[in-house]
Amino acid sequence: MTTDEQLVVESLAGSTLAFAELVERYQERLLRYLLTRATNRADAEDAVQDTFISAYRYLYSFNPQWRFSTWLYRIAIRNAARQSGGEVADVEDIADEDAPGPLDACIAASERENVWLTAKRLLNQDAYAAMWLRYVEDMSIKEVARALDKTQSWTKVTLLRGRRSLSAELAEGASETARRASYGRI
């Protein structure tokens, strides 16, 4: 199987098929992550599109010392931050504040809450992104720090706090479920 970095080299040599393969590999992963940051699916899809355009345009600046996914997520996170920073909430958005977000629509109904919905509720965007890149994308601490443009110390501390916070919430949820079950409410 051709590696991402080999596909980058082929793309730089002029192969559009090579870059199309990179899009195929990352489009769903990026959309899954960006849905957690965007207010609606259309914004998340726009962010995916912008990310691939930026990556294609500035492909020559990709440093092969890093993984392609690190570089791509770095672009995606910047695009998402710019998109969310520039938009102004209108009346319709405020009215729909309690409505389920785009992420909820993608998660099948289950007895227990998806841990990423819990994370979205508990953590700020940077901490959420650090957790996602570390535990879903299997990036190293160094790569997470690079993607988020933070120090490695910040990354370590944030991951530790995120884990503690989520673990405590999940443990509390589990004990609540057990208590309800013991009373025959479930």
Binding site: L12, V23, Q27, Q49, N114, S167
Partner: protein
């Protein structure tokens, strides 16, 4: 990988996003319309040209500064030749004739008074010594 990390991964996979054909078409279309930016290779001559350009600019700036500084500078007025006092030809012959009238300058007066007092003291001491000698011998 512990149970917590497994759950994070498993729950992430449970997020079913699905890429719509419209999105893929949009991405492909926008990529076709996008051109890759390629760095322009720097030619060896461009470094030399830059050096020459910066040197000439510096030189021109220096010339301009020198001209501006000297633009309104006052010139040294030269006296006409006739106005310059000439040395008399017989200056060596008349050298002994000219005796300038020197007056005591005010600030030397205290020194002169001190000198007079010292001379008086010396005279008094000389008289005392003379008297002593006379008594002794």
């Amino acid at each position: 990988m512990d149970e917590f990390e497994n759950r994070l991964k498993r729950d992430a996979e449970e997020i079913r996003v699905g890429i719509s054909p419209e999105l893929r078409t949009r991405i492909d279309a926008s990529l076709r319309a996008t051109e890759q930016i390629r760095p322009v290779p720097e030619s060896p001559a461009s470094g030399m040209n830059l050096w020459w350009a910066s040197s000439l600019t510096g030189l021109a700036a220096a010339v301009i500064v020198i001209v501006l500084i000297n633009w309104n500078r006052p010139t040294n007025e030269l006296l006409p030749v006739e106005a310059v006092a000439s040395v008399p030809d017989n200056i060596n012959q008349n050298q002994g004739l000219y005796r300038p009238q020197l007056k005591t300058v005010v600030f030397t007066k205290p020194l002169e008074e001190e000198l007079i007092r010292l001379q008086a003291d010396i005279e008094r001491a000389r008289q005392n010594v003379k008297e002593d000698i006379d008594f002794t011998f």
